[in-house]
Amino acid sequence: MPSSPLAFSARRRLLLTGVAGALAGSLDLTFKLPAAAASPPDLVVYDAPAARTLLAVCRTLFPHDALGDAPYMECVRAIDAAAADAGFRASIDAALARLPADFAAADQAVRERALSVLRDTPAFGALRGAAGKLYRNPAVWPHFDYPGPSLAFGGWVDRKMLDLEWLPAETLQLSEVTSS
């Protein structure tokens, strides 16, 4: 059965929230760390220096300079939540301990070399998995020109799905031959 108009509008609201989130993200370029070593807002396990390192780890794994820290901090929150498990926390702590003290301040190439050392540890896979959640965050989708769910506008069936204008004309002509 086709979805009700109600469902459509509910989804649209979600999309709008996503766009607003993206705008907020691009304005909030720096994450304000408290002066003391207390946990940053929303973090339970990690204190401010550890959070700063984890943020730098996430940014090093998937660096997109145009994105502010906010969506990366969502990834740090996911690591923080998982670190409620003592075994998980121990493996992350052991990995972080192997990074140089000035890791967060170093440039991308230096940080990549430092992270490479951890590549074969289980902690690295966990950190990569958490950092990769960046792309699940609707706030970053506008940057990648990914529109997300298509239910809100009824799918692509009545929209343009075939617009390969960059292909040479003689190649494109073949497409008529192939449409059955």
Partner: protein
């Protein structure tokens, strides 16, 4: 309306599993006037357009151990849900080809493989395939229109044409291109692999279970995990023990038991049902229950193109390049493969070009998301005796039963086939100017086949040509476990065709009083 049957009602057919096999079988049996109790390990799931959420929601997460080439963390991805894995299948609905039904005859002896011919010919299956195509509404067959073109599919087709491929089409998809069978036409949402929110894609959930329910002869018990099949003194299946949604053990008596729990749980349940009379496992006199495990060979190509592709738009897998499905040993391997386009959404794209990619260079590949085209390769996987499902000696599941161990090592033929196909896929995109191409084989199985294979001779397999086990005449295998060879096609259309054929056979046997 749903029926209710008493646990002691021994006139019912018990179907274990509600996916492509179990759902289709249940609908066909109830339509013929047979009462069916279907035990489904999973519950109802809501479908939404978020792939990671959906994968988490449907995933069969019970412990499985892996020995060999499959991903140790996740050797197999299948669904535990009402409707089974058919909720998340891609919709590519192709037949196993005539020459593949006689693979041993046509390929000859292949060292290290246990090739066999199916116990029935393609000609015998042809009418059942036709019935399945009509039932599933397969595009480009029986007058059903094709699905429309979109960029990702068109690039695959055009690139293939540039290389001289000729069997290039919009494919045969079990997805409505027009309203039919009470389900709407596809809206080109592009989230096929997470489940179709409107049911335009055929699935047991949307197309078969509603039919079964409407018969008034069908009871679906959700979150009912079968743990043993019992037999009587005559060696006939007499009932199924399951753990219900409240964690209580129940026994449903049965006249016939049909096992459609997917290619891992189906042999596992037979092994778990060992008894004094069947010490190696129920219906396992041949010793072949669990053996000859096949996954289909899966690979992917991700290409960064010179312009925008926006491949999240439209049906995920529609269109087909079929030339390489032929058997042509001159290529250096037996069997064949196909290409279909594969739409990828940003949230899962991060693991696609490389499963372990990261850093500035990889971020550039992520930045190129809108210019990315992608295709999947599906190929024939050889049956190998040692590739098998066994019970672990130590680890128990939440019901106290040994967890399955999945033993899978790819045959040299498998590796040669995938290498050949991935190189061709890269060529397809390079022919259109791709600036970067990433290819790799998948090590997560999504098709689980062959673990109770059909055979004429009871020494060579577990079931006869109708899926009845050789040793227990009223116990049937009704899923991909029956496959003798995998063929190059994805398995679902064949599972549905076998279920329709088996239902017809069961009905005639019930009427004749022979089971």
């Amino acid at each position: 309306m749903s029926a209710r049957f008493d646990l002691n009602d021994d006139s019912v057919v018990v179907v274990i599993g509600s996916g492509a096999g179990g759902g289709t079988l249940s609908a066909a049996l109830t339509a013929a006037g047979v009462d069916v109790v279907c035990l489904e390990a999973g519950g109802q799931v809501a479908i939404e357009q978020d792939l990671p959420t959906m994968y988490g929601r449907v995933k069969w997460a019970d412990t499985r151990l892996s020995e060999g080439d499959l991903n140790p963390a996740l050797p197999v991805f299948i669904a535990k849900a009402v409707g089974g894995t058919s909720i998340v299948w891609g919709g590519v609905a192709l037949r196993i080809q005539p020459h593949e039904f006689a693979a041993r005859t046509n390929y000859g002896e292949v060292a290290g493989a246990a090739l066999a011919d199916w116990p029935m010919s393609y000609a015998e299956m042809d009418p059942w395939y036709a019935q399945a195509e009509q039932r599933l509404g397969v595009t480009g067959t029986h007058g059903n229109p094709f699905l429309p073109d979109h960029n990702n599919a068109t690039l695959l087709k055009l690139g293939a044409r540039e290389l001289g491929y000729t069997q290039v089409s919009n494919g045969h998809m079990a997805i409505n291109a027009a309203d039919r069978d009470g389900r709407p036409a596809c809206r080109q949402f592009g989230f096929c692999a997470g489940g179709c929110v409107i049911g335009a894609k055929w699935s047991s959930l949307h197309a078969e279970l509603p039919k079964a329910r409407a018969s008034g002869r069908f009871e679906l018990r959700e979150r009912a995990m079968a743990v043993a099949i019992e037999h009587d003194d005559a060696g006939r299946a007499s009932g199924v023990v399951y753990v219900d949604a409240d964690g209580k053990r129940q026994r449903q008596r049965a006249r016939v038991v049909c096992l459609a729990a997917n290619g891992i749980e189906t042999p596992r349940l037979l092994l778990l049902s060992a008894s004094g009379r069947f010490p190696k496992g129920l219906a396992n006199g041949s010793g072949l229950v669990g053996h000859h495990y096949m996954t289909d060979l899966l690979g992917r190509a991700i290409a960064i193109m010179p312009g925008r592709v926006d491949n999240y738009r439209g049906t995920t897998y529609s269109s087909l390049v079929a030339d390489d499905m032929r058997h042509d040993p001159a290529r250096g391997f037996v069997g064949g493969y196909l290409f279909v386009p594969r739409g990828i959404h940003l949230p899962t794209y991060v693991n696609e070009p490389r499963a372990d990619g990261w850093g500035a260079e990889y971020a550039e590949v992520m930045e190129a998301y809108t210019n990315m085209a992608s295709a999947a390769l599906i190929g024939e996987d050889l049956p190998v005796y040692d590739n098998r499902i066994t019970l672990d000696g130590e680890t128990l599941d939440q019901y106290g039963n040994p967890v399955p161990v999945i033993h899978k090592r790819y045959h040299d033929n498998d590796r040669a086939l995938v290498a050949h196909g991935l190189e061709r896929a890269a060529d397809i995109y390079r022919a259109l100017g791709a600036t970067q191409v990433f290819t790799r084989a998948s090590n997560v199985a999504i098709h689980n086949l062959g673990t109770c294979r059909l055979s004429k001779d009871p020494a060579d397999g577990v079931c006869n040509a109708y899926g009845a086990t050789h040793e227990v005449p009223n116990l049937f295998v009704s899923d991909g476990s029956q496959f003798v060879t995998s063929g190059a096609a994805p398995p679902t259309l064949t599972i549905a065709a076998l279920a329709l054929r088996q239902a017809d056979h069961i009905v005639s046997q019930l009427r004749a009083g022979t089971i």
